[in-house]
Assembly symmetry: C2
Homo-oligomer: 301 residues x 2
Amino acid sequence: MGEFDLLRRIRERLPPAGRQVVLGSGDDAAISVPGGATVTSVDALVDGVHFRREWSSPAQIGAKALAVALSDLAAMGAEAGEAYVVLGVPEDLDEDGCLALLDGMTRVAEETGTTLAGGDVTRAAALTLAVTVVGHADRPEDLVTRGGAQPGDALVATGELGGAAEGLRLLEEGKGGPSGLIARQLEPRPRLAEGNLLAKAGATAMIDISDGLGGDARHLAESSGVGLRIDAAALPLAKGVEDLTMAVSGGEDYELLAAIPLDRLGDIPATRIGEVVAGEGVEIRLPDGELLKATGFDQLG
Amino acid sequence: MGEFDLLRRIRERLPPAGRQVVLGSGDDAAISVPGGATVTSVDALVDGVHFRREWSSPAQIGAKALAVALSDLAAMGAEAGEAYVVLGVPEDLDEDGCLALLDGMTRVAEETGTTLAGGDVTRAAALTLAVTVVGHADRPEDLVTRGGAQPGDALVATGELGGAAEGLRLLEEGKGGPSGLIARQLEPRPRLAEGNLLAKAGATAMIDISDGLGGDARHLAESSGVGLRIDAAALPLAKGVEDLTMAVSGGEDYELLAAIPLDRLGDIPATRIGEVVAGEGVEIRLPDGELLKATGFDQLG
C-alpha cells in the first residue's frame, strides 16, 4: 500500500468541506477563512493506552478519536469546525482497516458538522491517532475557559457519569454486560450542543470530564482559584452504575462540568451537583456525610 | 513522571504567545483570533521511520518535527503562526529527554515566530511526534497552492538539493563526512522567508521538496494539470553532492519548488531549473541529453 494511494482513497471518501474551508485535503496545507475566534485542541490515542483493538472495531476507534478531540471544543462552548488527523498505521492494519477507521471518524464528523480537512499517514509500531480539532465562535468572550468560576456559582454536570468506567470494567472482566455501558466506553460522543447552550446560558467555567470527575473538578478549581463542593448523592449516575467511585474517579465519560451563576440555572441541559466556594480544593460529600478526597487519574497517558 | 507534571514543566518553558493567540496552552483548547486566511498542516514523525534516535539528539528531533511541519506553510507562502504538538513518549525517554526535545522545538519556534500553543503527551511504543501548524495570510488569494502553474512559467527551486539524502547516506554508512550534509538531514529549516517572497513575487504554484524533487514535481504537475521539464545541469547541488540522483530522488531537503511567470523572475531567492509546459508528466534531462523518468518516494511513511 502506498502512502499516496491511501491518501487518495481517503480523500475520495471525505464528505464536502464546510463553509469556512476554502481548500481541503490534498495540497501542502488546508486553507480556511475562520472569522471571529478560533479554538484549537489536539488529542492522541494509542493502542494499548487509550483503546484496545481487541475490544474496538476500527470504525469505533476512528469515531472515538475524533469524539474525544471534539469534546475539548464542547468544553469551550465552541462550534465544531475542522479536524486534521495523523494516522500511525501498524503492519497488521490493512488498507481496508484504515478506511473503516476513517468511516467511523467520518460518521462523527457528519454528526457534528466537522470537516476532515487534512492529515498525514505514517507507519507506527502500534495504531496511533492524533487529532487536531479547530472550533469557532463569534468572539473570544463567547468561549468558556476553566478559569472563571466564582464563589456562589452552582456546579453542574451534563448527562450521566460513571458509565464509561463501568463499561471498561466489564470489558476488562470479559463479562459482556449492559451494552449501554460498553457503548459509553467505546463510542463516546462530544457534548457540543450542551457546551454551546451552557456557554450561551452564562457558564463561568467549563471542562470536559475526561480524567474523571474528581480530577477534572480539581483542574477547574485550580484554574479558577476557587474550591468546589460536590454532593455525591446528586451525581447523575449512568444506568447500571452502582459504585459511586466509578462516577467520581472513572474517566472517559466526556460529559461537561460547568460553573454557572445561580440565576442562570433555568433551562440548561445539566444536573446541579454542587457549588463553587471561596478557597481551594475539591470536597465530595458522600450520602453518609463522609468526605471523599477527590483524586484523578494522574498517570502519563 | 505524571502527565500533568510534565505538561506543567513544559508550559513553564514556553516562550510568550504570539499576538494572535488569546489563550495558550493549559485549558481545554487554545484560543486565537486569526483574521484573514488560515492555513493548517499536520505532520507526523516516528522513530525508525522518519528519524533514528541513535543519530539525533532529542533537541534535533524536536527541532526537525516542527521544521518539517512549518515547511508546508512555507510552501503556501504563509506566515508561521501556531503549533500544536502531540508527543508519544517511549519508556526509555525520560522527562529530561522530553524537555530537551521541547527545547529544540522551541528554538525553531523562536527562529520562525511560531507560538507553541498546545499539545498532548501520551505513552507510545516508539518516540512519536505529530505537529499541527497554523499559518496566516491576509487573504486566501495571497496563498500559493500546488495547482496554479501555467505553461510558459519558469520552474525554480530554493537553496540546494541532495544534501539531506547524501547526509542520510553518510549516516547509514556510519562514515561521518561533511558535517554540512549531515546537518541538512538532521537539522532542516523551513524556507518561510523564501516562500513568502516567492508568493509575493507572483509564484503560480509551489510545493516543498520533502519526498524528493522528482516526486514533488510530479505532485505539482498533476495538481496544476501541466507538464514539467527540468534541466538536471541547472540543479543547485548541495556542496559535497556529486550524484545527481541524490538531488532528483533524495527526499527531505525541504527546499521549495515553484512555478513563476518569466517576467517575475527578477529578484527571487531561487534558481531556475526548468519550465512548465502543456501536457503532463515530469521530464528531467540529464547533461548528456538522456531523459530521466522522475520517480518519487511512494512508500507508506
